[in-house]
């Protein structure tokens, strides 16, 4: 009994520990501006929506949100089909150089993104892609490809080979097998991969700041960092913007929680 309650106490502590920064932001976002920097901090007596009004109505932040959404979605739509094709090929066919291909993709996985920034910047500059969504979409797709690729291989490996045989005998071409059998059966994996990619892009900061800092293509994560006040840092607006960026993601996560956990733990235990 004591053991159990102490476990619960511990869990509550951990949850509070993790959630407290976010609560802090939430509180800051609804404080009247005068109380934000007050020391020691106080619980606001009256709540104010002025920061939200600033962010949503009087700044270009909604535009940044739309940019984030479009770039994240485009990345998903590019990465998932590519990695699905690749995973199907690797899972179902043996060919010369297969190990080499897998090895190269693992290397891609291991590259730290900071090491890519300079080279990619030069490349995109030469292509004239700076401040164009294409630069981010391509970078994000390449960075996420190994993750989704291996995740989907796990899913496709679990589909019994007899499915393919049955489809072959029913007259399917390889593409028809891929389209009618493999893709629908790998759907849970595809959904969880898509969500992981989307979250990655939504939160990404480094490349977004480097390749597309212009207002027209600026992503929300960068937008928060670049909030400017006339004489001081507008902490209230920044907090409100952070909440606005996080909430859709949270709703999204709650909704698809099942798939995300499935995706991250697939292959962990024998089924």
């Amino acid at each position: 009994m004591i053991k159990k309650s102490s476990l619960y106490l511990f869990l509550i502590f951990i949850i509070f520990w993790s959630i407290s920064p976010f609560l802090w932001i939430l509180l800051t976002s609804v404080k009247p501006p005068a109380q934000i920097m007050q020391l020691p901090p106080v619980f606001p007596k009256i709540y104010s929506v002025i920061s939200y009004k600033n962010v949503l109505l009087e700044s270009p932040f909604p535009k940044y949100l739309l940019n984030s959404f479009m770039i994240s979605l485009s990345t998903v739509l590019l990465t998932i089909p590519l990695s699905l094709f690749a995973a199907y090929g690797i899972s179902r066919f043996s060919f010369r150089g297969k190990t080499f291909v897998l090895f190269m993709i693992i290397i891609l996985f291991a590259l730290p993104s900071i090491s890519l920034v300079a080279a990619l910047y030069k490349l995109f500059y030469a292509l004239g892609w700076i401040n164009m969504p294409a630069s981010l979409i391509c970078t994000y797709s390449a960075l996420n490809f190994p993750l989704t690729f291996f995740l989907l291989i796990k899913y496709i490996d679990k589909i019994p080979i007899e499915m393919d045989y049955a489809a072959i005998l029913d007259g399917c071409t390889h593409f028809q097998i891929f389209w009618y059998i493999i893709t629908p059966l790998a759907a849970p994996g595809i959904i969880s991969a898509a969500i992981l990619v989307f979250i990655f892009c939504w939160n990404e900061f480094l490349f977004a700041l480097t390749f597309a800092p212009d207002e027209s293509t600026r992503m929300a994560s960068v937008g928060i960092a670049l909030f400017q006040g006339t004489y001081e840092i507008p902490w209230g607006d920044i907090a409100a913007a952070s909440v606005v960026v996080t909430v859709p993601l949270l709703i999204f996560l709650l909704f698809f929680q099942k798939y995300i956990v499935q995706g991250l733990t697939s292959g962990a235990v024998k089924e």
Binding site: Y165, A166, A167, I168, L169, D170, G171, T173, L185, A187
Partner: protein, 352 residues
């Protein structure tokens, strides 16, 4: 469809899965390929279906060599051991799938007709996971039959059913095949299925075809010791005997009088089916004497384990009513026409 295997082999790296196979399958025949795992029976089936390519040799459908014809163009249907139904499609779509891929007309009518024939028309809107084993098996059959294939292949389709369902499924399968008159190749490790279903049985072991024949032939005249030991439950009793003269032989050092003329070879293998032995009082004339060490009661019959010498244990299949018990000595009598003889070196059947 007439099918011919001509010197067909299959190798995986250094292991030979199939030694040169020569086999003719008649049009409309129900052929059962019987063997244990690793016998090459599934390889044979996969080559027939086109899922695997032979290493050498030829496969003919009628007079056409089909080695390089892809599976989808062979007009061959396969029922898998685990049915391989598409889990994301309803029963209706599962059955309609081969028609959809082949862009066959009036698929709706064909699907409903096939479903009616197999008695699954009430399940068409369900998903495979909502079905019982027997129902899944019927859906798999329906999916195979709906496009009216020339050749029907089955890979142990009944092994996932429970014993009681298997008997009725066997009957229905045979009835269905007769009605449609489709050339059927059925792979199994279950000799009961082989004996009850097959027009002919092909017995395989270690990648070699051991014998092809009607159920009666393979049971009554097994071509070698493997077939003799494989077909029949309990298996045929076999022992090496040495013939001392034309009227007596010795088995494990014990001399037994034989009621007929014996072959002139000195060393042979004698085989007698368990149901052809009669239990008589010990040391009766022309009987092999041994000790009953164990009895298995099976209801309508019982199987006695009789130890003739330390190394020779024979089974006797007798009416349960008979009054012997474990520990008794007994004589085993047989008539000369029920004996099988095999060469002790090659294992091949010897006819006198």
């Amino acid at each position: 469809m007439k099918i011919r295997f001509q010197d067909l082999t299959k190798q995986y790296g250094n292991t030979t899965a199939l030694h040169p196979l020569n086999l003719d399958i008649h049009d409309g025949e129900f052929l059962v390929i019987l063997g244990s795992s690793g016998s090459g029976k599934s390889t044979t089936l996969n080559i027939l279906a086109g899922l695997e390519a032979p290493t050498s040799g030829y496969l003919f459908f009628h007079e056409h060599m089909v080695n390089h014809v892809p599976p989808g163009k062979r007009d061959v249907a396969l029922v898998f051991q685990n049915y391989a139904l598409y889990p994301h499609m309803r029963v209706y779509d599962n059955i309609a799938f081969p028609l959809k891929i082949r862009k066959a007309g009036d698929s709706h009518q064909k699907v409903t007709k096939t479903a009616e024939m197999l008695g699954i028309d009430a399940l068409l809107q369900k998903y495979p996971k909502e079905l019982s084993g027997g129902e899944r098996q019927r859906v798999a059959l329906a999916r195979a039959l709906v496009r009216n294939p020339q050749v029907f292949l089955m890979d142990e389709p009944l092994s996932n059913l429970d014993a009681r369902l298997r008997i009725s499924a066997r009957g229905e399968l045979k009835k269905l095949q007769r009605k449609r008159n489709i050339t059927t190749i059925y792979v199994t490790h279950d000799q009961t299925e082989a004996l009850t279903l097959g027009d002919r049985i092909a017995i395989m072991d270690k990648g070699r075809l051991q014998q092809v024949g009607t159920p009666h032939e393979v049971y009554q005249k097994p071509r070698n010791m493997f077939v003799a030991g494989f077909i029949g439950m309990p298996p045929m009793n076999m022992a090496r005997i040495s013939i001392s003269n034309s009227r007596s032989f010795s088995i494990g050092g014990v001399v037994v009088e034989f009621p007929a003329l014996l072959p002139s070879t000195r060393d042979v293998i004698l085989g007698i089916r368990p149901e052809k032995l009669t239990i008589v009082p010990p040391h009766s004339p022309h009987a092999i004497t041994g000790k009953i060490v164990h009895r298995e009661y099976l209801g309508s019959e019982s199987i006695s384990h009789v130890e003739i010498t330390k190394n020779i244990l024979w089974y006797v299949n007798r009416n349960a009513a008979e009054g012997t018990k474990t520990g008794d000595m007994a004589g085993l009598q047989f008539s000369p026409e029920d004996t099988h003889w095999f060469d002790p070196v090659t294992g091949v059947r010897i006819e006198f």
